[in-house]
């Protein structure tokens, strides 16, 4: 009997009752959500169960939704059952003021660096991670750059001509021009 999304949904609801919810199937991939304290229980169940066998962690990432107050950071796991060829997506949401999520490194060794990357970019604190330090950005960075409130560009540049880039005036996307804001390099500094 082939494993289908319906079967997976039934087994999850049987096991966890109403702790799992928000079942959707965008583009035929079953997506569901669970409270953050239950993430390891769900992952272990999906791993150990003989019918479900989701033993390959394809992807682990985080998303920032500033609009969902109380549930701003989402950790998204993509799991893959290689034998029956089914993929599912599992999300846990956590508050941004206390973004603690249990680590999945005990179960999947590939979660190690992916969680470090989610920490580096979004500040999700994975409880129990062996080495939760920054991985991609410089070590002394003190903010989490991929959150929506931070800008993309480096704010300390003085050589960009804001007028040419469509900034300046009131449409400045947060680049407030300082009083000695210069548009060109003065003669004294030209080589």
């Amino acid at each position: 009997m082939a494993l289908t999304n319906e079967t997976i949904k039934q087994r999850l609801i049987e096991k966890f009752g109403d702790q799992v919810g928000a079942f959707e199937e965008p583009y035929e991939m079953l997506t569901f959500e669970a409270p953050k304290d239950w993430n390891l229980k769900v992952l272990n169940f999906l791993y150990d169960d003989e019918e479900l066998r989701f033993q390959f962690l394809t992807d682990l990432t985080a998303v920032h939704y500033p609009a969902y107050i109380g549930r701003e950071l989402a950790v998204v796991y993509h799991l893959h059952n290689l034998v029956d060829n089914i993929r599912i997506r599992f999300k846990v949401f956590t508050d941004i003021k206390q973004p603690d999520v249990y680590t999945a490194t005990g179960l999947y060794a590939s979660a190690n660096w992916q969680e470090r990357e989610a920490y580096d970019f979004y500040g999700v604190n994975f409880v129990g991670h062996p080495n939760l330090i920054r991985i991609q950005n410089v070590d002394d960075m003190d903010y989490f750059p991929q959150r929506k409130e931070f800008p993309l560009e480096d704010q300390t540049r003085i050589d960009k001509d804001d007028e040419m880039f469509g900034r300046g005036g009131n449409m400045d996307f947060g680049n407030v021009p300082t009083p000695d804001h210069r548009h060109t390099i003065p003669e004294s500094e030209k080589q």
Partner: protein, 409 residues
Amino acid sequence: MATTTQQNTLTEGSLATGTTKLNLGPTHPATHGVFQNILELDGERIVSTEQTIGYIHRAFEKIAERRPLYQITPLTDRLNYCSSPINNMGWHMTCEKLLGITNPKRVDYLRVIIMELARIADHLICNSVIGVDAGAFTGFLYIMQYRELIYEIWEEVCGSRLTTNIGRIGGFERDFNDIAFTKLEKFLKEYPAVLKEFENLFTRNRIFMERTIGAGPISGERALNYGFTGPNLRAAGVDYDVRVHSPYCSYQDFDFEIPVGNTGDSYDRFLVRNQEMWQSLRIIEQAYKKVQDMKGEEATVFHADVPEYYLPDKKDVYTKMEALIYHFKIVMGETDIPPGEVYHSVEGGNGELGFYLISDGGRTPYRLHFRRPCFIYYQAYEELVKGGMLSDAIIVMSSLNLIAGEMDG
């Protein structure tokens, strides 16, 4: 270090406690890219390693939140830059999945030709660089000559050699002209003999075999746990290939095999990549034949009919109103993407390259995440080289085909 040099032999009960820390730093002989490994060595044996990456972190995911779908394609080029067409096509297929576009068969077959050429290019670099690291420079020089042929084919189609930005959402920007097909035929004719010669240089070469057999083995279960995909996983014995498991782009119409290794050491990885190049050649020949056998209307189409995302013909832009509006909206990036979230993956040169795209209905993605295979399997490096010798560390690093652009991204 002083303690180990004073003792000439290890007597019972005396442990050589001095280990050396060797920094295989971010700048090492050009070919690999920038990542750092601090190796702790006991004499010549490796006790532990510590990896540092991020020396080329370019914040692709954050840039993608600001760009309309087209402008993200040049970013995807720079992920695995040895085989950038595969990344481009993967991204376009993700967009097509989100937008619900199905492509005509000819587009699929042309895409397959380009992607398999990219796979050959990637594996060529990897295999010849394993040779260079083992000391054999000749293979590299001979094979780069034939990579130039692949570059010329890409240049005919899209204008660029390395970072191609090839294809559009729904197909290709222009049809493949006769010169491109002539060059493809030349490649198909000349390349098999060259690959055979390259194989002969290495596969039964005693020095190469002694350098690579046993260097960095990994078992199938550990590889799966570490999230390995691609040739590294297939060398460990697991035959998982996204082209066969979840076929995309009409791969199910082709007849090819997946080479699988035994022990997962560097020699197996080399052989798996080598065999994959032969299989890619097979696929290209079949795709080319299918394209040539198409007749009539089917043989001229090179894009799907999706005016909101594919630039209309210039002569229509100057004469028809709808074409003008679509042209304006596409170029200025003012087309709204339907909301939804989609995950699509393709078989890149290194494994499963996945694109997780969340759209909230605006003009740019809300979140775009790249599942980069290099990043995921580099974590296993410590386990692969522990207990091996320093020279094995180099061979394992190059046989894993670590591309820094994909690792940091």
